[in-house]
């Protein structure tokens, strides 16, 4: 009894010492603020994008969307129980995938364009071949014990998932089995993003933390705190050295991976709605963040200022995406429409 208590005390002491050490190192590196450093950068002015297309087709709330690597096709998921693949140049629907479970929360397009994946309250990530004559279920990845909040293909043979069971997982699509389980979050995982070099990914969870993971090692390398509520959206800055998060606490934050800390906070006293989704323009300068207030607000990522807004949806903006060629931004909403802007 006494020996166990002694060990617990020693471990607790070591924890506290390590936390102090991590904080001291961060403080020592904090030699100036990001917004002060960006003071000399030219302003982007008012960013006014026009609505180019209004895509009608879904019959219920849209929960997720993802661009294809060709920057032309796009897949959307709605709780009407369907995935729709769109040709965004014409507005035509190319493929409709009926879902076994209508409670979908995430969708992704494989880089090859051959596969799409989706999942939600069924706890399963289902992968479909959309190049077949009619959409064919390729795999049902069933091992999570909580809802599937996010899925991201690395290739046609590997996919990462984030779940309400607090874990993320790397799956082998050839066997349909889990390769690596990433455990460390203490709240539902809500979102994940792959680094540009695909060696790392970042996850955001309901424990208000963002964590950086090594895809191959399975280890959590860094933990970023600061948010005071669920992190719903997360994305890498295009250089791979920073990460942007969006939270129910109504703010977005930028964390620099090499400085190991938060470097910018995107808040506005007039914005009292949670952030649901976010996407960056190709240079990383503009952040498109979807909010519960029915708008997608545009932020200057370096100066931390609001520089524009995409208004038009009649309900919460649930998903946002910028294609690889950076030619536009797509917003999806609970109002059942997807809008394209540039």
């Amino acid at each position: 009894m006494a020996a166990e208590k002694a060990e617990m005390d020693a471990l607790k002491k070591e924890c506290d010492a390590l936390r102090t050490q991590i904080e001291a190192a961060r403080k020592a590196a904090n030699d100036g603020s990001m917004s002060a450093a960006a003071g000399g950068v030219a302003s982007v002015g008012r960013v006014q994008l026009k609505l180019r297309k209004n895509l009608k087709g879904h019959l219920a709330k849209i929960y997720a969307m993802h661009w294809s690597a060709d920057s032309r096709s796009m897949v959307s998921a709605s709780q009407d129980g369907k995935l729709l693949v769109w040709d965004t140049f014409t507005g035509n629907k190319l493929v409709a995938v009926p879902l076994k479970s209508a409670w979908v929360m995430s969708v992704d397009f494989a880089p090859s364009g051959n596969l799409v994946a989706s999942g939600g309250l069924d706890n399963i990530c289902t992968v479909y071949n959309i190049k077949a004559a009619s959409p064919k279920t390729l795999r049902e990845l069933d091992a999570h014990t909580g809802y599937l909040s996010c899925c991201r293909f690395l290739s046609d043979s590997e996919i990462l998932t984030a779940s309400g069971d607090t874990t993320c997982c790397l799956w082998d699509l050839e066997t349909g089995k889990q390769k690596i389980i990433f455990t460390n979050h203490i709240g539902d995982c809500m979102s994940l993003a792959l680094s540009p070099d695909m060696n790392y990914f970042i996850s955001g969870a309901c424990d208000s933390l963002a964590k950086l993971w090594d895809v191959r090692e399975g280890a959590c390398k860094q933990t970023f705190s600061g948010h005071t509520s669920d992190i719903n959206a997360i994305a890498f800055f295009p250089s791979g050295n920073a990460v942007i998060t969006g939270s129910d606490d109504c703010s977005c934050k930028m964390y620099d991976l090499r400085a190991d800390q938060e470097v910018l906070d995107y808040t506005d006293s007039s914005l009292n709605a949670g952030v649901t989704s976010l996407a960056l323009s190709n240079s990383g300068r503009l952040i498109f963040a979807g909010y519960d207030d029915f708008n997608c607000h545009i932020w200057d990522s370096l100066k931390g200022e609001k520089v524009g807004v995409l208004s038009g949806h009649d309900n919460r903006v649930s998903c946002t995406g910028v294609p690889e060629d950076g030619m536009g931004v797509c917003t999806g909403s609970w109002d059942s429409f997807l809008k394209l802007w540039n």
Binding site: E4, A25, G32, R258, A259, G326
Partner: protein, 81 residues
């Protein structure tokens, strides 16, 4: 019983914090050179600003998309009233 669970959890937490504090190196290959971790915020900020600057000219949402090259614009014939 539950004390053993608590100890196991505490041990896991210490192990994780050691990774994050940079004490235990699992592999020799590092994501960032340990000599410069954490990096000064001023240097990190300069790098981010430099990246944005280098890529600004090729960012269609920043510079604008000419109408003739806009893939999302509706291609309807003009009606002269």
């Amino acid at each position: 019983m539950s004390t053993n669970n608590n100890i196991a959890q505490a041990r896991k937490l210490v192990e994780q914090l050691r990774i994050e504090a940079g004490i235990e190196r699992i592999k020799v290959k590092q994501y960032f050179s340990s000599l410069f971790f954490p990096l000064l915020v001023s240097k990190a900020a300069a790098d981010l600003m430099s990246y944005c600057d280098q890529h600004a000219r090729s960012d269609p949402l920043l510079v604008g998309v000419p109408t003739s090259e806009n893939p999302f614009k509706d291609k309807k014939p003009c009606i002269i009233l």
